[in-house]
Subunit: 320 residues, 2 copies
């Protein structure tokens, strides 16, 4: 606790993701933290936030994905819901926390005012549901999973080809007409069922079957090339292997070899400041506690003796 | 162009999401922008970024989801991939752009240095794939969709109940043992197939069938109550209707009625600064151009006559 107090005293930002109340129980209430360091930005990321009836509940990414509604709109057209295949609730919450922290630092720099940042996984995940929230209120129908298609633009979805699947986004009449030319079905563009985006969306299943019948006669590569000529937005459904072979990602330094890890790569920083350093490799992640002594010595100025005595008296998580 | 130059002159941040090169073609190259305002933070969000071989390609959310690999890991256990049910590539890109902008503002405030922020949808989406990127490199197997389950923790997935589905996250031996007690199958916790998380993950299908058989005999509400007593993390798979009835989201001011819109609600700001204003309602979104004259008059100081002449000579997007 003495070390934590010293760290709080010397830092600009305290970030923690304990369940609300835990830090206070450990002796570091919001008031105490500001008392130790009146200039601190204190940020918390938690499952449900530091207020409200559910505040104390435990949270994992999959629990919050379930509660947030994002699972209810992700899945097959036949209605089988699935979790987003990455821990999107965890990640989005971290990103909002980062925005909150940097905003608070900026304001502090300009005005001297501090901030107590409180970001919840549930709030964060609900905040990305966009059109589902609006559609439900307007139509009073509960949105369901739509497979790979867009709720109100057609054709804007994936189609089976002879060898895999292809995503096509023909978002207006011109692009739809070009798509019809590419698949040698120019009549579709003037067909009464498909003339406007609204009509196409109303008759989406019918249109999908017609398009997919043609696309399934040739390979994804064939169709990508043909659609590219007409500038109809399209894409292969890449997998992890494809990602590692992607030239654009290489060029953007998005696949960083980790030093002395035999070519193992991690993902680079997607926030590029053009003309400034854009790292081409990453340092190995530290093992737990690797930098403890450096921080105690160089940041807090502790003596060798003090550090040694802290190690001697260390209590483990279990003992705590 | 004169108005835009004046706006650039008076603003802290220029944000645009044109395809790379478009702003320069319109007469506003990076150099020209900084020339007009040497203190500006110029931020671009684009499909593939302002460098690399794919830089010029058009992008939509579904195209980038397809290229990023996120679709390849989202979908059913049987292997049917689906798009994340919200425009997650669009959204994450906006969030990274926000982090870049606020960071650049903070740095500018401290050092006077400006920044040219360049965020790509492809980079941004790849950056959230987390364990799939690592699993592929370690195992050399291409990750596939996993339905609602976790790749390496079991049971950490959704199960059918009598009336719907329930998410259960029993992430360690203790919670698994408690789950077994709740479903009246205490023997499972010491079963050779399921004793450790590794064993449970290896025998996930078998375990899922056993658990689901019991859960399907009673309602989601019943199981949620029973699991809550034992503090086993669990959740209903909420839909949009449930979201609007959620007390925690209400308490957190996450459902904001829009002024004079008959109860229509939008999602609140998930970044809370505790103890500071937390809006309980939202202003109506402006219609296109609603604030043009106010900006011209109050920000740029244009005269009535000048504004009138701009309106007279206005060219439409089509004419342009």
């Amino acid at each position: 606790k003495e070390v934590l107090a010293d760290l709080i005293r010397t830092t600009d930002v305290l970030i923690e993701n304990y369940r609300p109340g835990t830090l206070a129980r450990l002796g570091f209430s919001d008031e105490r933290v500001v008392e130790i360091n009146p200039n601190i930005i204190h940020a918390s990321a938690s499952g449900f936030g530091h207020s409200g009836p559910e505040s104390q509940k435990p949270a994992y990414d999959c629990i919050v994905q379930a509660l947030s509604g994002i699972i209810s709109i992700t899945g097959t057209e036949e209605g089988q819901s699935v979790r987003v295949g990455t821990s999107i609730s965890d990640i989005i919450t971290g990103m909002y926390t980062a925005i909150g922290i940097v905003s608070a630092l900026f304001r502090h720099e300009k005005t001297g005012q501090v901030a107590r940042v409180d970001v919840a996984m549930l709030d964060s995940t609900v905040s990305v549901l966009e059109n589902a929230i609006a559609r439900y209120q307007i139509s009073e129908e509960i949105p369901t999973p739509l497979g790979s298609r867009h709720p109100s633009i057609t054709p804007f979805e994936s189609f089976k080809t002879k060898d895999s699947e292809i995503m096509i986004a023909a978002g207006n009449d011109k692009l739809f007409s070009d798509l019809c030319t590419v698949i040698a079905k120019p009549d579709l563009a003037v067909d009464q069922r498909f003339k406007t985006n609204l009509m196409r969306t109303e008759n989406q299943q019918e249109l999908k079957q017609i398009i997919e019948k043609v696309l399934s006669e040739n390979s994804t590569r064939h169709w990508l090339e043909a659609l590219d000529v007409k500038k109809v937005p399209c894409a292969r459904i890449n997998n992890m292997k494809d990602i590692f072979e992607n030239e654009q990602l290489k060029e953007r330094n998005m696949l960083l070899p980790v030093e002395s890890e035999n070519g193992f790569k991690i993902i680079g920083n997607p926030i590029k400041f053009a003309g400034e350093s854009n790292e081409a490799s990453a340092e190995k992640a530290p093992v737990l506690g690797e930098h403890t002594d450096i921080v105690l010595r160089e940041v807090l100025g502790y003596s060798k003796e003090k550090i040694a005595s802290l190690h001697e008296n260390k209590i483990t998580r279990e003992e705590y």
